[in-house]
Symmetry: C2
Amino acid sequence: MLGAIIALVNSFYRGERMNPSGENAKEKILSAATKIAQAHGYGGLNLRNLAGDVGIKAASLYYHFPSKADLAAAVARRYWEDAAALLQALKEESRDPLECLRKYPVETFRKSLETDNRMCLASFMTAEYDDLPEIVKKEVQTFADVNVEWLSKALQAAKIATPRDSKRRARAIFAAIVGAQLMARGRSDIALFDALIDAYRASGLLPA
Amino acid sequence: MLGAIIALVNSFYRGERMNPSGENAKEKILSAATKIAQAHGYGGLNLRNLAGDVGIKAASLYYHFPSKADLAAAVARRYWEDAAALLQALKEESRDPLECLRKYPVETFRKSLETDNRMCLASFMTAEYDDLPEIVKKEVQTFADVNVEWLSKALQAAKIATPRDSKRRARAIFAAIVGAQLMARGRSDIALFDALIDAYRASGLLPA
DNA sequence: ACCTGAACACCGTTCAAGT
DNA sequence: ACCTGAACACCGTTCAAGT
């Protein structure tokens, strides 16, 4: 009989009306966590602070995600999915593959720096390699794969590289831009990022 | 009279004989901390683990360094001082500036990867920019300055860049190599580092 | 001079309990 | 369904006390 009452009470608290704000909590957690991780990395992602940003207690995070590792993996996955969508849109908006390639550094890596000197979440977590749970590592690597793949195709389309060497070239471009973002962050200096990209163009690494 | 006794006891414990191992503790702390920071960064530098590596208790670290910030600053300072010495030696050993430039990526950044997939301490800490104490930030930036300065001079000596644009070129090379090391670490794949450096050469960023 | 144990406020995580 | 307080072992740091 006591069990029946508890079941009744529980059923009352079930359903959509428990979440009056239209936005769901999981979304809010993911987007808040992304911002924190871009500035402080996986190790610096503090669950009490994150919960505070969302407006709940740290313990409540464990209702939505079984562990910090799973939360971070979800964040990293969402991150490369968004990047893939953005790159797809960039390709469709551009008139030709060359314009596409010229926009790439600013539309992706420069944007993070513009927002509070943040950096690419995947780059930060790559540095934290030794401390990353396996599921997080996997998603972080996928981010690099997505970028390299996209660059590789763009280079081929622009006839800058042959199918044979477009991948190596794409990797080189990606790595160099990652490094440029890191240096610029270290001085909180977006102009330095721009100067580095210009230098890559002048040297021939990036198409002018 | 009690004070006199204490002073006497203290004097007994003073002097070199308290440190039977020839090596001094401060040195051991610095080198152990360097290794940890290259793998886990500033945030991941755990004082209890560090103390354990050295063979003392965490509280004892505070006898040698007033805070974690000061310890990390000393580590970072030592790091760029050692790098400066290594670069100086590299220059003296090389027959010409071009050979010097060709050795640069392997003698510096590749070496870290060879040792347990570690990375440049300064690169890691640059990612941690937002969480870095000011004194640490300063030393980390000096590491980049030292490298860029050295590269800049080497580029001029090799007549690859004019005094006018050697600095921008040096910065671009440094940033690109930093990025290459990060990517290679993210796959624990030294061959990837080598491939990236080769691609930089093929594109014209690095002298062939 | 050099080291330590015990204590502080903090971290990720768990869990029983609340609505 | 969703959230919480209290507890756990851990972190950086302090300090009085030891040799």
